[in-house]
Every structure is written in C-alpha cells, then in structure tokens.
C-alpha cells in the first residue's frame, strides 16, 4: 500500500498528546505506533480481537466521562481521549493480573515458557506484586497430548483464546475449543479427538503462557541460553521467514518471524519441526567411498580424489555428456551457483536437473510476468491450478484463507477437491491437460473459464494472477508447460506464480541448474531432464551426482531408476541417509539446514538470507565448499569460497542479480529479502523497526523485523535509491510453444482408470524419516475412487486393492471411497507403504491402471 491510498487519519489524544491514527484501527495499535505499549495477552496483530483477557484496559473518554475500555477491541474515533497511565488503569492492571494468577501455578522454574513468558514479564512490569489468594489452586491431569506434536498443561492456561482463534480462523482447523465453564474452562479437543492440523505448532508459538508446548522442544532448553540466527525456512518454496534458535551448537527450535510479505509469522509443522532431523543418527557425517563392496569412511582428501578420478575417467572414456547432476533444489543459491559452474564450465556437461518433480519448466517461468505474493493476494481474481496448496506450500494456504476473508476471489481448477475448494467461488473439475487443450483450441470449458476471469479482470486478464503448478504427479511436465503457455497467451496482461514446491527450485532455475539454461536466466541448447537422464543411465555408463535427492523415492518408474542407479557410478552429496545412498560409490556429507550461511530464492523470486546457527555436523561441509573442492581437484580455479563472496561474484557476473548484496539482505532495510531482478523494485517494504510487542511472538530474540507493514510511519527512506534501480532491464524471454498430445485427455476403455497422483505434506523423505517425532506423522499411501467405482471393483471402503500398471507393475494399496471424485479416475495419494510412483512410465502422456480387489 502506498501513501496515496492511505485514507485520512483520525486524531486522538493519548496521555495528553495528540496523535494520528488510522480510521478503524484499535487503540492498542495506534498507541503502539506512537510509542506507548499497552500490556496485553489475548490481542494478536494477525488475529481478530476478542477483548477477553482485559489486560489492555485503558481509560477512554465517553459521553459519561472516562471509563475503562479494552484498547484492543475499541476502535479509535475522532477526538477520543485515551489515558494509559492513570492510577485507575494501574489498579485495573493489578486486578487483572492478580485474577489471572489466582489459578496460574507458580511453576515458572520448571516451565518451558519461563524466561520468555508474557505473563511472567507483564506481571513483573504491571502486576500487584502480591496475591491475596490463599486457597488451593486448580489441578488438572498434565500434560494432555492434544496432538502428536503439541502438549497442553491446562492449569497454566489463562483462556486468552489465541490458540482457539488461530485454529478456527487462521488455519480453518477448528479441532480445539473451550470446554466447560467458569473455573472449569479448559482448551480441549473432542474426547478421543486430535488437534490434527498442519499448523498446530503456531499455537505453541503464540501461547502467552506455558500451557501449550511442543513435544520436540519441551524441557530441551531455557530461553536465556538460546541464541538466534534469522533465516528462511526451506521446507517448501514459499520461503517463510523464521528464526533458528540454538544453544551449545545444537538447533533447539524454529520460531516464525512476522514477515508482512510472506508468512505473517506462521510456519507449518513440517517446517517448524524439521530441525528434529538435524541431530539424528541418520545424518551423513563422514565422507565415504566404496572399497570392494563395503562403504568405508575416508578423509575428504581421499573422497575428493575418488570423485576427481571418476570425473576424469568418464570425461576421457565417454565424454563430459556422460556426467549428470540431479537435484540441488535443497541447496543454497551459492551452492547451486558453484555446482552449476562446476558442471557447465569445469566439467562441461549440460546435464543438470534440480526439479525431480517435473513441474512447470524454467522456460515458462522466465517468460511469464511473475507476481509477488502480495500482488497475488490483492489480485482482482486469483486462478489456482495446482496441487493442493495446503499439502505443497502450506503457509500459502493460510495467506489465501486470510485474503479470501478480506475479499479475494479465487477460481480453482482441480480434478479433486482440495483445501482451496471451500475458499473458491467456483471449482472447475478439469485436468490440466483438458484446460490446456481447451485454451488452445477453444470450446465450452475455455469459454466458461474465460467468462469467470473476465468478470473481474476483463478479456486481457489485467489484474488477474494465475497460480500454476503440477496437479497430477503422474503427468509429464509438458502438460503444465503448455497450460502455462496457453494461459499466458489468452490473458496477456495477467501475472503468474508457479507452485513448484521444492525449497530453492526457483533459485535453481535462476542459476541454470535446470536443463536448457545457464546461470542468470540465459538460454542454452535444450538438454535432457531428470527422467531422460535416468533413462539414459539405465542403458549407458554414466556418472550421476545426486545432490540431496533420492530418485528412488522421488522419480516415477522406480524399476527404471533402480536399474539406472545399478548401472551408473553414483556420487551422493546429501545430509541424510537415503535408499539411493546404498547405490553410491562416493558419499559426501553436506552441511544441513542452519549449518551454513547463504541465500535462497522463493517462488516469487525473492532472495532471502539463510542464517548459520551451528557448525556443520561431523565432517560435513557447506554445499558451495564441496563444489569448490571438486573444482580444485580437477585443477580448476575454485573461485570464492565464502557465501558473501560467491553472492558478490553472482551479482557481478549475472545481470539477474545485479545490485544484490549480502549486506543489504542482512540489514533492517530489507528484512524480507529482495525480489530478483531488482529492476522490479517493488517488493521490498522498507525497514519497519518494531521494538515493541514481544507478546505477539514470545521467544523471538530480535523482534524488530516483525509485524505488519506500517505505511503510516511514512516510507521515510522512499527517496533513497533502491539497490539495482539503475540496472538495465533484462531482455524478456520468449514464451515457447508446447504441443499437447490428445492422448493426455483420452478416456481409457476396457475399465482402466486414469491415475491422478497427489502428494501430502508429510510425504516420506529421508529428512522426515530422520525426525523422531515428526516422522510419526508420515503420510500413508492410499487411493481414492468414486463410490460407484469402488463398488464396481468389488472392494469396500478401507480395504486393500491391487493396482496394475500398463507395464504389468502391481501395487497393493488401501482404497477409500470419495464422493467428490468422478468415475474413471483413481486418485493415488503418495505416501508410505506403497510406491504408487512406480506405476508411472516416463514419457507417457497419461497413466492408466487397472484396479482389482485383492
């Protein structure tokens, strides 16, 4: 929001000083901006005010003189007089705190919140000092496990309603509520029920007392022992800002940072608790090479020598084209840049593919005008055609949920019902291929979609944003490329976001870690993608570098992958032990999250800083260092080996990154990072110092980066030149043409069903498996079919059925009935217990299976 849009202010008198407030804002916010902190418990800037804790009572003038009013609930009005420091207010605060402490145990010395507790802190600052209550306090059974991750100590609860409001309003998972009445009031799940939300950790983060605690953190650390590094979550490509807190070189927890443009302080549980894996014994910590049939731990020198000799012998024997790099989307930008430089310059191979999902390809991403998240949420209409956002980019679901309440219009294109369906004004139950073909050749589906978009954004799609991503993981990426291309052609004024969800996949694209591209969005000759590389590796000798990926778990056509790995010389560069590591000839341990600094790029193209909290575990090394050492092993110059220096080289060499400096990203001026290329300016909201409100996210050590943007505080530095403002406009990439085969939408005869593969948040990965508590949530594989289909195959809801692929592969999997699915489709939900990806054959337009009852 620019200053021009800000409506005229309202004038109120705060403790005798006239201040300007935004119309409609609560007193507590106006006061806070003016520098007066009013104590509070239930008020949270990202949630609806309820005024239940009474801590924020202030004196407000009214028709009958001054009276005590909750400042979080009462909106400012012209001429209002507010007193926050009178005897009467002080007495109210005393009373409220004494009352809250009547039943609150004084177990602070053993409470996890002790030391960062809003109740503790505000009692000290505003409390009466003594209690008149001498009776027995409440006792409850403790702790109660309300989910696998969250524990509840009810006697500590002060009924502020933050967790219940979060679950209900923000996450739309109202699985907890207040039960009972009076002093028996407790936060409760349904008896035998569970707070089964992907976002449950946020309730722990916002609890103003120690009532809700996270099992992975409980009794692990004291707040005053914690140090903090600001960082970005890499569980998906949304890039939520968060603080990595650590103690004695051990990561102890992640806390969400309130970034106005990305995550509003929320994290998903997968991101929040993924640190559990960092200290597990499933970490790869030593370089290993294969001697005869055994893997032996060796020094880095010996491992590097082995890698070097492999590269030299493959180059000499089969040409550089026999060396391929798969993965890397989990690496830092600096690591990716170094590896791409190694592959494409030092070694001379073009075979590099970071997107094992085969999502929307870089050629489409670069050619489409990209929206920022802020633009997408303020769009006239947002068309979502991707896999379930809550499963792929979880916190984006929270942002969309919030935006829809504020008036965003969403049109969804999805064959299956998703978390977005209830938010959308309409769901078109069409496959991506159907829509792509319809847009190319016209027809009723295209007309209908056209009319829906035109209703808000006109024929050209001005102000419309499309969120496009792979919705069926059995499809080839060409389907999504053609959908994106056809969409961009039909709505030339629309903007796009892409839902490829691997952590730094957009950084990987920008840095040329995808087929057909060089660093800096520079096109080169087309080359093979991951599927084609694997197909080649099954036939001819190849040297495969696996950069933090397990193709066995992540690529379709498992049998082919297995023979490719068998047939190739494999170098695994990973932090976690995976099935693919069993095929390795060399294993190089790479520093895991929080163990090295660098930057990452999110789905908007936003580059943010990754903070280093602890030293790499065991012998592991940062990704960029490993690339540099391999280069040195080959007798090439290794280039810079510190992340700041690598980023400096990137911004010097690549126009895409021109003007980007590590120091800027680390400064208060760009707390939310910068969107590349910087010519778009945009994006960054300037510094919003916010020294107040340690209550919104207790435990955050440096909360000055937090909080909603404050356009009212005037963009003081707006006159200052943005970094990169003078950089030349980068040339527009031409949108390629894609042909889609009608086979992609053909209906199979002979009772075969089209396979539609979707993923869930807790999909089995090496990192999830290494997290002791989080891994209990690992999704189980299952299929869903229409009730009539289930009946037709003679199976019952929840029984095991046999899926038979076109090439004879058989998979046993549990089948469930789902009314929302059409006939002729089987939705396979990927997970543990059955490998549904093996039914897919690389290079087919659509996958069909037969279902037989077992």
């Amino acid at each position: 929001m620019s200053n021009a849009e800000t409506p005229a202010g309202v004038h109120i008198t705060l403790d005798g000083v006239e201040i300007e407030a935004k119309p409609g804002e609560p007193i507590i916010e106006a006061a806070e901006r003016a520098g007066t902190f009013i104590p509070r418990f239930c008020y949270h800037p990202r949630m609806r005010a309820v005024g239940v804790c009474r801590m924020c009572l202030v004196e407000v003038s009214g028709p009958r003189g001054f009276s005590l009013q909750p400042s979080c609930y009462l909106q400012v009005a012209e001429g209002m007089q507010v007193i926050t420091n009178s005897e009467k207010v002080k007495k109210a605060q005393d009373g409220v705190l004494e009352f809250l402490l009547v039943n609150h145990p004084l177990d602070c010395p053993v409470c996890d919140k002790g030391g960062e507790c809003p109740l503790q802190d505000q009692t000290l600052a505003y409390g009466p000092g003594e209690s008149r209550f001498v009776e027995e306090k409440r006792h409850w059974e403790k702790p109660i496990e309300i989910s696998k991750l969250v524990l509840l100590d009810r006697e500590r609860c002060i009924q502020c309603d933050r967790c219940v409001r979060f679950a209900n309003e923000v996450a739309s998972d109202p699985f907890i509520d207040f039960a009972g009445r009076g002093d028996h009031t407790e936060v409760s799940t349904f008896p035998d029920g569970e707070f089964a939300s992907y976002f449950s950790g946020n309730t722990v983060q916002i609890c103003p007392v120690g009532a809700l605690t996270a099992r992975p953190y409980r009794f692990k650390a004291r707040p005053w022992d914690l140090e903090e590094a600001e960082s970005t979550c890499t569980a998906c490509s949304l890039g939520c800002r968060m603080a990595v807190q650590f103690s004695r070189s051990e990561v102890t927890r992640f806390v969400g940072i309130d970034s106005e443009v990305v995550n509003h302080s929320w994290l998903c549980d997968l991101g929040r608790f993924s640190y559990e894996a960092l200290d597990s014994d499933k970490r790869l910590t030593e370089p290993k090479v294969r001697y005869r049939s055994e893997m032996a731990e060796v020094s880095w020198r010996d491992a590097m020598a082995r890698v070097g000799s492999h590269i030299r012998s493959f180059t000499a024997g089969h040409g550089a084209g026999s060396i391929a790099f798969l993965g890397g989307a989990g690496f830092t930008n600096e690591g990716l840049y170094s590896f791409v430089k190694l592959a494409k310059t030092a070694i001379g191979t073009d075979l590099f593919d970071a997107d094992l999902d085969g999502g929307v390809p870089a050629s489409v991403v670069f050619a489409s005008p990209r929206a920022t998240l802020t633009e997408a949420l303020a769009a006239k209409v947002l068309v979502v055609a991707s896999a379930d956002v809550r499963e792929e980019l979880p916190v984006l679901f929270l942002r969309l949920n919030d935006a829809v309440k504020k008036g965003l219009r969403i049109i969804e294109i999805s064959e299956v019902e998703t978390s977005i369906s209830p938010l959308a004004v309409e769901r078109l139950p069409l496959s991506a291929a159907r829509v792509a073909l319809a847009l190319q050749s016209g027809g009723p589906d295209a007309e209908h979609l056209g009319a829906l978009v035109a209703a808000s954004a006109g024929e050209e799609g001005e102000g419309a944003v499309f969120l496009l991503g792979k919705s069926n993981f059995a499809d080839p990426s060409t389907v999504y490329a053609s959908l994106a291309a056809a969409t961009a052609k039909k709505w030339p004024a629309a903007k796009f976001l892409f839902a490829n969800s691997r952590a730094n996949i957009f950084g990987a694209m920008d840095l040329g870690a995808v087929p057909g591209w060089l660093p800096g969005r520079v096109a080169t000759a087309p080359s093979d993608d991951a599927g084609q590389i694997i197909a080649r590796a099954a036939d001819e000798p190849m040297l495969l570098f696996l950069l933090g990926v397990d193709p066995l778990a992540e690529l379709p056509d498992t049998a082919l992958v297995r023979s490719a790995l068998d047939n190739s010389t494999v170098v695994v560069i990973d932090s976690f032990d995976s099935a693919a590591a069993a095929y390795a000839d060399v294993v190089l341990p790479v520093a895991a999250y929080g163990e090295s600094a660098g930057t990452t790029t999110n789905f908007e193209g936003r580059v943010t800083r990754l903070g280093q909290a602890v030293v790499p575990k065991g012998q592991s090394k940062p990704d960029f260092l490993i690339a540099a050492e391999i280069a040195r092993e080959l007798g090439m110059p290794s280039g810079p080996t510190a992340p700041e220096a690598i980023l400096a080289e990137m911004s010097r060499e690549l126009p895409l990154y021109r003007g980007l400096a590590y120091a800027d990203l680390a400064s208060n001026r760009y707390p939310d990072g910068l969107v590349v290329p910087l010519e778009r300016k945009a994006v960054s909201i300037s510094a919003r110092p916010r020294k107040l409100d340690p209550i919104a996210t207790p435990g955050l050590i440096a909360p000055y980066h937090q909080g909603p943007a404050k356009p009212f505080a005037s963009e003081a530095e707006a006159g200052k030149a943005e970094p990169g403002a003078d950089s030349p406009k980068s040339p527009r990439v031409q949108l390629p043409e894609f042909a889609i085969d009608p086979a992609a939408v053909s209906v199979a005869a002979d009772g075969r069903l089209r396979l539609l593969l979707t993923r869930r948040l807790y999909r089995p990965t090496a990192q999830l498996a290494a997290a002791p508590i989080l891994s209990q949530l690992t999704a189980k594989a299952e299929i869903r079919v229409a009730p009539s289909t289930l009946e037709a195959i003679g199976a019952s809801d929840g029984s095991e059925v046999k899926l038979i692929g076109d090439h004879g592969t058989e998979v046993l999997v549990v089948a469930k009935s789902d009314k929302s699915l059409p006939d002729g489709v089987v939705q396979g939900r990927l997970g543990d217990g059955a490998n549904l990806l093996q039914l897919v054959r690389t290079g087919t337009w659509a996958t069909y299976v037969k279902v037989g009852s077992n």
């Binding site: 699985f175 509520d177 039960a179 009972g180 009445r181 799940t189 349904f190 035998d192």
Partner: protein, 213 residues
C-alpha cells in the same frame, strides 16, 4: 451410519433448515440427541457436527458449557437438589447429604442401576417450595429426608411414569424450535401433569385434613 434414528435424523435435518446459519441448530440438536440417548454420546456429537457444519470439538465445547447438556451418561432420572440460599436455609444442604446417602452416590454420580443421577443445582426458581428438588426438570418440594425417600421409591416403582418422562425428553424445547409435535402428545402430557398435580393437591389436602383432626 449415524447415531440418530432415521426418524430423529429427519427431525434434525428439518431443524437445521429452520436457521439461516446451520450452526445455529447446534443446541437444539443436542437436546434432540439427549432425547434419543439420554445424554450426548460421541457418535451423536460427531453427527451433530456433520449436520451443523462444525467440528466435533466445537460441539463438545458447547455441550460441556451448558448444564442441561450432558456428555457423560445420565440415569433415567436426573435428580437435582437445590442448595442456593432459600433452599439452604430450609435444609437443602442436609437434604443433599441425605440424598447422597440414600442413593449411595456423591453429587454428580449415577447409581449402579443407571436409574438416578444426583446433582447439586443452583436456584431452580422454586424457592416457595424450599428445599426444592427437580427430577428431569419437574419440580418437587418442600422435601424432607423421608419425603425424598418416598419420591425415589415412587420413581423407582414407576408411579411417576406419566409425569416425569425419562431424562432428555423435552417436548417443549422441540416445540419452541418449530418441530411439529403431535398436539395429542402435548395435550396428553399436559393432562397427565394436571392429573398428577390434582392428585398431589388432593393428597396434601387430605393430609392437612387428617392433621387438623
């Protein structure tokens, strides 16, 4: 599938249809469930959540808030002894103590034969008959230990069957929520109540006359 019988399910659906917001039917549906099962079992709460577009946790939250909604098993007769000021002065406390001994359960408990659940209640607006007792929201009083035992014996013997319906039966609630209750049913209940009232009055008068003699 559901906890409601088909007939009750139909009533429940028509009840939901009465409100612009589905969730407004939550409390009436809880009463409906109690009428069918005596208390709110988990399957009922789950079905109510489904009917009202809420989650079981929200239904449980609401149900646990209100005294007239029970999430634990309740005997056929819910016996509430008032211990608020008027009744207390007239011996409500002693009556509750007596009731606990007579029924063999503490306040809040249910007898082993699942006939009686004993509760200590706040004022039931029957102060003129203090100490007052309510059985399934039908009022009795003033009661002594002896007349309490008498009442229990009669309830046990089925002598009040027409007057005190089993716990959960709330004809009026249903009517006020627009559910059609056959008029004969209402009148029959009213007649039965009137008859019992007249009987009690006659008995009281007879006792008075006897005393007078």
């Amino acid at each position: 599938m559901g906890a409601f019988s088909p007939e009750m399910r139909e009533r429940a659906e028509s009840l939901v249809a009465l409100y612009p917001e589905r969730r407004s039917a939550l409390i009436p549906l809880c009463h409906l469930a109690q009428e069918e099962a005596g208390y709110l079992t988990q399957p009922f709460m789950e079905e109510i959540a489904e009917l009202t577009g809420t989650t079981p946790a929200e239904v449980y939250g609401t149900a646990s808030f209100y005294d007239m909604l029970h999430t634990e098993p309740v005997g056929k007769y819910l016996v509430g002894v008032c211990t608020n000021i008027a009744c207390l002065l007239q011996g409500g406390g002693e009556l509750l103590e007596h009731a606990e001994q007579a029924l063999g359960v503490a306040a809040g408990g249910t007898t082993d034969d699942e006939m009686f659940t004993l509760e200590e209640v706040e004022c039931v607006a029957h102060c003129d008959k203090a100490p007052a007792v309510q059985v399934n929201y039908r009022f009795f009083g003033p009661l002594t230990g002896e007349s309490f035992d008498n009442l229990i014996a009669k309830l046990r013997a089925g002598e009040y069957d027409g007057v005190v319906p089993p716990h959960g039966t709330l004809v009026r609630v249903r009517r006020e929520n627009g559910i059609e209750v056959p008029l004969e049913e209402v009148f029959a209940e009213r007649r039965e109540m009137d008859r019992a009232k007249a009987e009690r009055k006659a008995a009281a008068e007879a006792a008075k006359a006897k005393e007078g003699n």
